[in-house]
């Protein structure tokens, strides 16, 4: 790999300098933060709630646990985790994007969540927490926006307690060619139009569709998690592989 290639990474289908990706992703999310929840419901026809629910079920979080919700965005997972860990536990909602974090904090406060939730603006690649500090870490629809995914997974494995679980919920590759075709049509034609109409920002949603295609498939991500030091890594395809839930344990 030449030094010039080394310094670029993908941003959707474009190649951008590594230093620029984070700020470009940040721009996307600053732009969509306010309408993020509405768009999620609209784009996935509400199914994202079921995917997230399944993630919570697989997380096995109990009262007293410490949970880190990375790229927690508008706090969907945090809301439920905060109830499950109870007053003795703690949930940290981390996001690299201040706008998303603000929307999430407001939403959680409106839902009466306080006390056991902390908000941290952090980069997943270098998490500002001591080693072995969380029983469970989740990252839902966030990993594909991270510039250096391997570094992020290593950082997550570091802050995870031995025996703790890392759950990665992320778009993946549909395993049925017919579904794949329909999905492509939907995400490259319909999605940007919906983004344009509802959030007034078609470009951000075009990036979303492209970034999904550039994200590693199920097996590759599994390998990456194993390389980061996680064991017993397994994944479950949801909705025909449009989304996959990976789970690894730090032993």
């Amino acid at each position: 790999m030449s030094p010039t290639e080394k310094r670029t990474t993908h941003f959707g289908y474009q190649e951008v300098p590594v230093d620029e990706k984070a700020s470009r992703v940040a721009d996307v999310f600053h732009s969509v933060a306010a309408r993020y929840d509405v768009m999620n419901d609209l784009m996935s026809m509400g199914i994202h709630r079921v995917w997230k629910r399944l993630t919570i079920e697989r997380a096995g979080v109990r009262p007293g646990h410490h949970v880190l919700d990375i790229a927690g965005g508008t706090g969907d997972l945090t809301l439920k985790f905060s109830r499950l860990v109870g007053p003795r536990g703690k949930v940290v909602l981390a996001d690299i994007n201040a706008s998303m974090l603000r929307v999430g904090r407001d939403k959680l406060m409106d839902n009466g969540v306080g006390g056991n939730v902390e908000y941290v603006q952090a980069n997943a690649e270098c998490l500002p927490f001591p080693d072995n500090s969380f029983d469970c870490i989740t990252i839902a629809f966030g990993l594909r926006n991270v510039t250096d995914k391997d570094a992020a997974l290593r950082s997550m494995a570091r802050v995870l307690k031995p025996g703790g679980r890392l759950l990665v919920l992320e778009f993946s590759k549909p395993n049925n060619p017919l579904l794949s075709k329909a999905y492509d049509e939907y995400s490259f034609r319909l999605l940007p139009k919906m983004g344009e109409l509802v959030a007034g920002d078609g470009e951000s949603y075009r990036y979303l569709a492209e970034s999904i295609r550039m994200h590693p498939d199920q097996e590759t991500l599994k390998g990456m998690m194993e390389a980061a030091g996680l064991e017993r890594v397994e994944y479950t395809n949801l909705t025909g592989g449009i989304v996959a839930l990976h789970r690894g344990i730090k032993l």
Partner: protein
Amino acid sequence: MLITPTLLLAGCERTLNALLARDPAAPARLAALAGSRLLVRLEKPHLALLLCYHATGVDLQHGDEVEETDVDAVVELTPETLSEWLSGASIERLMFDGKLAVRGRIHLLEATRDLLFDLDIDWESELARWLGDMPAHSLAEGIRRAARWGLRAKDELLQDVSEYVFEEARLLPGRQQRDVLRDHLTELEIATDRLEARLNRLHKRLTQPAEPSTPKEQRG
């Protein structure tokens, strides 16, 4: 489908929490239960459900991967026991009968039943949220009046129909007539029994070998 049970659970949870939010007695009961976790295992079909209570409702989760040490109480029951329990049988009696196995904090079960089956939903206040106090009250009063009228009308209709059928059209016998008929039938039954007994006796007499005749006749 992997997500179907999750979808069903999500639907149940949403409905349950929506109902609980409309019960004036629920917040106090939930406050007492908040933080408790109850694992319910149904034997057939095999089903494990984890109920996690919080101040505003209950979270339902799959309980298959849950360890018993992680919950406050575990209940194991069969569908028959579940229906008995829901219909009000006391937990102690079911336990002594060996139909219900409970480990952990048993009173969680009682509290759960109180919470879920003593739901007294305040529909009027929910209507008031949408329509305002006065219209909601008038509407609720109207519905209550209509319901009372419906019940009364139903009773009266039943009464009228029975009077017509039994008394006027005499399509079916009434209770008194039926009693009289039954008395007559009993009498007839007894009379037939007697007659049968008499016939039997007569028959026996006829078929019995003739009485041994007098020696004089034999010799004749």
